[in-house]
Each structure stands twice: as structure tokens, then as C-alpha cells.
Symmetry: C2
Subunit: 298 residues, 2 copies
């Protein structure tokens, strides 16, 4: 089953026979004080930098979250989306738990965006799925509800089925629902990653939908987290995940490497293309650093 997203430029197709899709997670003020301060001050240059840097490092879609307490989020998300559009033609993922912010973001977003996210909570489904249908957007459905994240793969499959049933009821096709089976942190539950890998396989087999993962939660509280995040992404791709919300600068190589090894990237063409883009980006960033150092010396 293929999920198609569109920005102002080329179409992105998420699907099992397709390249793994990375949804760049960096436009999110949670844990990024610099972005939070910039958004509060009405300074959107940093948003441009985050958008173009993620695109250069291989992001296929850009997640947009403007959750700063006390801010007029519907107004800010429109401004942020306009700013992203000035430097990137990628599809957007509108990331909010507030329906007013989602509505504003969906209105401002070009093409066919993604909504991040609904879950199995009925009030949330009733609120968000009609928005997706009306806008012609796709949606990420998290395999949890008001009772939390089920401990078993079967429990998460059950919530995925509930989300798809509600989507069908409002006329949103199954290919526009991407299920996220969620991962808890292995630091507090040794079985956490394994359960998620099993949930990916089960949901994929039973429902044939696209599978998304927020990768970095798995390593919370442990040192040298990129090692765990990369390994988890690789295992998740093998299990059947088709997209991930992630930092493309840290996880781009892992995704491309997994595809090469699983014979999903003939002649390693995408891997080599990623390498060349990364090298070009690195050279450019070094030049920027060198020239700003030069200015400081003057």
C-alpha cells in the first residue's frame, strides 16, 4: 500500500517497494531552546536553516511542530510554513495535539501534507480524522489510547485496527493512514525494542499499511544514543517499517546502509548519492564556518 505526500515540488511515495522515507524531526522547539527562543521572538531564519539542512541531509518530509507555551501557535505555524516554503519544496508533516493548530497548519501547507498524529482515543479520532479527510491529508496513527501503550504486539495491532476502522468511516482511505507501533525505552524495559519489532511485523502482515517509527525514544536515558537509534532503525527497516521521524543527519546513513544490505538499493545507487550529498553539505558547512571565523578575525 502506497502513501503519497506532496509539497510544492516532487511527490514522495511511502511504500514497501520504495526507498525508506525519513521525516526530519528538527523543526520542533521541544528540547531545542534556540528554536523556542527564535519562534517566541518572531525570528524565522533559524527555521530556514533547519529546513534546508535537513533537506540536504536526505530528509524526504519535514515535520513542523511549534509547541511553545504561551505562543499564538495557529499564527506561528502559518508563518513557519511560509518560511519553510521559501527554502524547501518538500512535503510537510503538521505536528500538534491541538486541533486549532492542525487546522491552521493544514490550511497553510502546500500539496498533500501528513498529520502527526492521531491515536486510538475516540475523541481524538473524531476530532482529527475529519480534518484529514476534508483536507485530503494523510495521518499517522499511534498504537496507543487513553489507557497507554499496550504491552503486546497484539494489543498494538488492535488499536491500529480501531484507527483504520474509524478512518474508513469518515472516508479516509487505508493508504492514507500510517501506523506507528511506538517504542518505549529499552533502558527501563529490556523487551521494549523487541516488542516493537514484533508489532511492526504483525501489523504489516495483517493490515498491509505503511509503518512509521519515532526512533529516538528507544535510547532515552542511555549513553551514546545514536548507536542504539541507528541499530534500531536498521532492525525496524528489516522488520518492515517504511518511514521514520528522525534526525536525517544522524540516521540517514543507517537507513541507506540497511537498504543496500537488504538488496533494496541496486548497485548502492541511493547510498552513493547520499554519500555525495553529505560530502557536499559537509564541505559547504566547513566553508561557512571558515568564512565566519574569518569575519570574526577582522
Amino acid at each position: 500500500m502506497n502513501t503519497v505526500l506532496r509539497g510544492t515540488g516532487k511527490e514522495i511515495t511511502i511504500g514497501s517497494g520504495r526507498p525508506f522515507v525519513i521525516i526530519g524531526e528538527k523543526i520542533n522547539p521541544t528540547g531545542n531552546k534556540k528554536l523556542a527562543a527564535a519562534l517566541s521572538a518572531g525570528d524565522f531564519e533559524y527555521v530556514s536553516l533547519l529546513a534546508s539542512r535537513q533537506a540536504a541531509w536526505g530528509a524526504d518530509v519535514l515535520d513542523v511542530n511549534v509547541g511553545v507555551p504561551g505562543m499564538d501557535e495557529p499564527a506561528v505555524i502559518k508563518r513557519v510554513i511560509a518560511q519553510i516554503g521559501s527554502v524547501s519544496d518538500l512535503p510537510l508533516s503538521i505536528d500538534s495535539s491541538d486541533a486549532k493548530v492542525l487546522t491552521a497548519g493544514l490550511e497553510a501547507a502546500p500539496g498533500k501534507p501528513l498529520i502527526n498524529s492521531v491515536n486510538g482515543d475516540l475523541r481524538r479520532l473524531d476530532e482529527v480524522l475529519p480534518l484529514a479527510k476534508a483536507r485530503g491529508a494523510a495521518v499517522i496513527g499511534l498504537a496507543m489510547d487513553e489507557a497507554g501503550v499496550p504491552a503486546t504486539p497484539e494489543g498494538r495491532l488492535g488499536i491500529a485496527e480501531r484507527i483504520l476502522a474509524h478512518a474508513a468511516r469518515v472516508g479516509l482511505p487505508a493508504e492514507d493512514v500510517i501506523i506507528d507501533p511506538l517504542v518505549l525505552t529499552v533502558g527501563s524495559d529490556s523487551q521494549a525494542a523487541l516488542v516493537t519489532l514484533q508489532a511492526i511485523e504483525l501489523i504489516k502482515r495483517e493490515l498491509e499499511v505503511n509503518i512509521n517509527l519515532g526512533v529516538s525514544n528507544v535510547s532515552f536515558g542511555l549513553p551514546e544514543r545514536p548507536n542504539l537509534n541507528q541499530a534500531f532503525l536498521i532492525l525496524a527497516i528489516q522488520a518492515g517499517a517504511t518511514c521514520a521521524i528522525a534526525d536525517p543527519m544522524k540516521l540517514g546513513y543507517a537507513a541507506r546502509a540497511a537498504e543496500v544490505l537488504l538488496a533494496r538499493d541496486a548497485h548502492a545507487l541511493r547510498y552513493i548519492k547520499y554519500f555525495r550529498a553529505a560530502e557536499a553539505r559537509r564541505a559547504q558547512e566547513e566553508q561557512t564556518l571558515a568564512s565566519s571565523a574569518g569575519e570574526q578575525r577582522r
Copy 2:
């Protein structure tokens, strides 16, 4: 099935319920001109450095290869093994295609060493397996013969069966044979890694032996090889590999991360222990660099 190796210190057990074992590959002059020159000059200090550095970065076994053209390899391997013994108590893997070098290495090695390697070639089996039996050593059996590496997982299983049959004939127990299903480079054959992953699963299921991999061949000719090597190691561990010949500095984290995610490292204890040792090692190396820079300034 458990394969036990011994150095002068603690015993190392390779097996499915056990921590993944890394056989440090760095004591090998092929592609290391500095080591080749040092060995030719009779300077063994660099061997000590390679041994202690690999041990500090998590190697469980040390591979010893002294293949420099024109050198008296049997004499050199004895000297190298004595040198390693002065800084490390780890088990050794005696790595040569020359029976005279193997014999000398097995004589000099402490405890219970590993032989790297035999393959399905009958002359090689008849030459090496009796050496292993006589010395009480374990042996790596490569899934190839004089006709090359079979293209299919089934073909590699067939050679593994042949090696085990010959081992049984000389009285070498199956637990002392570690099968290496081999990997060709994905750069020239897109199916190469996938075939090896399938071969690991097949050989593991049918023969229940330990499985070794020489990881780095998979990425030959491609850029940023550690990304591919790490990803391949992670997928191989999931498929059932129990040890690898690898650079512990580059692949240690990937192995420990895979174990955490596959619920084979409760509370991430080994991962955290690896992190602490790596940090300590890094601090020590920085101190060494700083003090040698200090000496140069004097």
C-alpha cells in the same frame, strides 16, 4: 552449542545464549604497512599496542596473522604470540593458510586457541583438522571450497556439512567448529548481504553450530564503509551470528547496541560497561597525546 576458548586468563564462551564475541582483526599486516614494517624489522612494540588497544575496546579474542612475504613466519608468529602474552590474557585466533605457521602458532599459543581457518577443500581439511584435534583447538570453517563461494544459502550449508563431517571423522567435536558463511561485496552483487543473512539462518537452524562473520568484506569499494559494516553486523546478529572477526573500535558499539535491542542484554549492563571502558580508553588516549605534545614543545 557452545565453543569454549581460553587464553592465559578467563575463558570465553561463544554461543547463542551468550554475549556476541568480537575477534579483534587488527594484528594483521595485510593492509597495515606500519605493522608489516615493524614485523620485518623485528620490532614487536606495535603488536603490544594493537593487542592492548583492541582488548580495551572490547575484543574477546585476538586474531594473529603475520603474513609478510619473505619473512620466517613460523619464527615470527611465536615471537608475536609471546609479545601479546605480555600485555593481554585473551584467547588467540591463529590466522594462516600455511600449515607450518599454524603449527608454530598453535604450539606457542596459550590455553585453547582458535584456528582461522579451514574451508571445504579436502586437502585443506585433511591438513588442518588433525592439527586442531591434536592441539585441542577450535576451528573456523569457511563455507567455500576450491570452486569458490556457492551463490546460494543451500550451497553454503552443503559445505558446512562437509566440514563438520570431516571434523567428526578426526574426532573434533561439532562445538569446536565455527562456520563462517562468508559475505561477498554488495558493491558488485546487490544480493550478497541478503544471501549471507539467509545462510546464517539456514546453517544455524540445520546444524546449530556457532556462526562467525568477517564483516568488512561486505562494504569493499563503497564509501563510508563503517556505516555498512555496522548495519551488516546488526542484521547478522539478529539472523543468528555468534561471533565476528572485526575491528572492535569500529564495531563494538554496534554489537552491544544490537544485543540491547534484541533483549539479550538485560538493563543494558554490557552496553553501559562498554561505554565506560570506551570513555576511559578515550581519556587515556587523549592524555597520551597531550603528554607527547608536551614533550615535543620542550
